[in-house]
């Protein structure tokens, strides 16, 4: 048999296996049960418009707060990590390694339940506030590492040129190094943002008032209420509508940066 013929045969076989699997799945799936349990129009109608005005809205708000707070904290941590003063470096390293090493869920539980007892201090915003604070801290650890890498990716000559003009070290950092570092890390930072969107779903473990629920808590409550899985599908679709454009954006930014180099 000729090599090209054999290659065509193998390829045809691979397609046949794929089509077979799809047909088999379609045949054994209980379409009526799926329609009723996952795609019930009636339940969807019940979820509207709260899925948007409560679920999506709170998910976006919590993500933005956690990201903004995490970013602010991360700038300080990254600068500490690159500081010539050793104790600052130690503190930043300990913070980053500690909170990157723990599952976000554990940190959320700690802030929701352990911290209020241990320090008899209630974070603002009740248990949701505590959960969002936990996300701020977790994201600060990840973003700090990203920023540090970005700062170190700025060529040393930039620092030297600024210093040779008489700029102080602080002025050089804020006017010359950080603006360039941020450009470098925009794609990975967008990625952190997407991860954070998904991490807000972990907040469901600490409970929330009716109008404080984010998307996952909202859909889980509806799941119990209607004894139907349609809310899960709705939540999944809502997450994808938010995250897919962002991940596409990251891919585009990365391509553009590759070209600029």
């Amino acid at each position: 048999m000729k090599k090209s013929t054999r290659r065509r045969l193998v390829r045809g076989l691979l397609y046949a296996v794929l089509v077979g699997a799809v047909v088999l799945l379609a045949l054994i799936a209980d379409w009526e049960a799926i329609r009723q349990n996952f795609l019930s129009g009636e339940v969807m109608g019940e979820l509207w418009p709260e899925v948007l005005t409560v679920g999506v809205k709170n998910t976006v708000i919590y993500t933005v707060i956690a990201f903004a707070g995490g970013l602010a904290l991360a700038i300080v941590l990254a600068l500490m990590k690159l500081s010539p003063i050793a104790p600052y470096r130690w503190i930043a390293t300990a913070w980053i390694e500690f909170f990157r090493g723990l599952p976000a869920l554990v940190v959320i539980l700690a802030f929701g339940f352990a911290v209020p007892i241990a320090f008899s201090w209630r974070p603002p915003g009740g248990s949701v506030g505590a959960g969002v604070l936990a996300l701020v801290i977790v994201s600060s650890a990840y973003i700090a590492e990203t920023l540090r890498a970005g700062i170190q990716a700025v060529p040393k000559g930039q620092f030297e040129a600024a210093r040779s003009l008489g700029m102080t070290s602080g002025r050089t950092t804020f006017s010359i190094v950080l603006p360039q570092a941020f450009r470098i890390v925009i794609p990975p930072l967008t990625n952190e943002f997407v991860l954070l969107i998904k991490d807000t779903s972990l907040l469901f473990v600490i409970g929330a008032a009716i109008d404080e629920r984010e998307l996952t808590t909202f859909s889980r409550d509806a799941l119990t209420q209607y004894a139907n899985s349609t809310p899960l599908i709705v939540a999944a679709a809502a997450y994808l509508i938010i995250t897919l454009p962002l991940t596409r954006l990251v891919a585009r930014l990365e391509r553009r940066q590759q070209k600029a180099r």
Partner: protein
């Protein structure tokens, strides 16, 4: 063109280096350098790569920390912990091999940021000075361009204009044409020639023997971390005394 003015009388040592040693780890790259540049002088430093010539130049504004020895800039010991290093650096223009323009800022902003932040000049004054210096290096009209859109030769001339905008008392050039395509070298050397004719004090680490011969007041040949030979450029280039100088020049000329 305005004449570069200095508070010090001509003949005063702009740069004086005494018994300078510099180690990178265990590697001694400068082994006791005595060196000076007089006010208004153009001193060219040549030598094979790894000879320590760039390190010497970078010690003059303490981008490299000397291990031991004394460096006086206009009579001030720059290693004295009491000294305001930023103020001294702002009076020493530096031009790098790799230009080091700020890529996120326009040409105009590259030229004004240190004037405003370090010299505390008003924006209008800084812009006017920047325009004059851009014209001086032949790049009037490029104010709004970004460094990435300029050729290497243009970037290096902007870098020179950026340094000049601080009204420096002296200029350090660290292989300013080594990263340029051959056809762009002439423009940059032309600007440097004009500066020298203007009376600017210059220390130039370079491989451009023609420039050293025509513009330099003194030529210093370094090898292996020491100054092997120095003197009048025409003299040294035509009639090198030391065998290492002869060997180096026979390869590059």
């Amino acid at each position: 063109m305005t004449r570069v003015t200095s508070t010090l009388p001509a003949g005063t040592r702009a740069i004086e280096v005494r018994d300078l040693h510099k180690y990178f780890g265990d590697n001694e790259v400068l082994k006791g350098i005595d060196f000076h540049v007089d006010q208004g002088q153009v001193v060219c430093v040549i030598g094979p790569s790894g000879s320590g010539k760039s390190t010497l130049l970078r010690c003059v504004n303490r981008l490299e920390e000397p291990t031991s020895g004394t460096i006086l800039v206009e009579g001030v010991d720059i290693c004295d912990p009491e000294v305001d290093l930023d103020e001294i650096r702002s009076r020493i223009g530096m031009v790098f091999q790799s230009f080091n323009l700020f890529p996120h800022l326009s040409v105009m902003r590259n030229l004004t940021i240190a004037q405003q932040r370090v010299r505390r000049r008003s924006k209008d004054e800084a812009v006017e000075i920047a325009r004059n210096n851009l014209a001086k290096v032949g790049l009037a009209g490029k104010e709004d361009a970004y460094p990435a859109h300029l050729s290497g030769g243009q970037q290096q001339r902007v870098a020179i204009a950026r340094a000049l905008s601080m009204d420096p008392d002296m200029m350090l050039f660290d292989e300013p044409t080594s990263a340029l395509d051959p056809e762009l070298v002439g423009d940059v050397l032309g600007v440097m020639r004009d500066l020298a004719a203007d009376g600017m004090t210059m220390m130039v680490v370079t491989h451009e023997m023609g420039f050293a011969r025509e513009v330099g007041d003194k030529l210093v040949f370094m090898d292996g971390g020491v100054i092997v030979e120095e003197g009048d450029p025409r003299e040294v280039l035509a009639n090198p005394q030391h065998s290492r100088t002869q060997g180096f020049l026979s390869k590059v000329l």
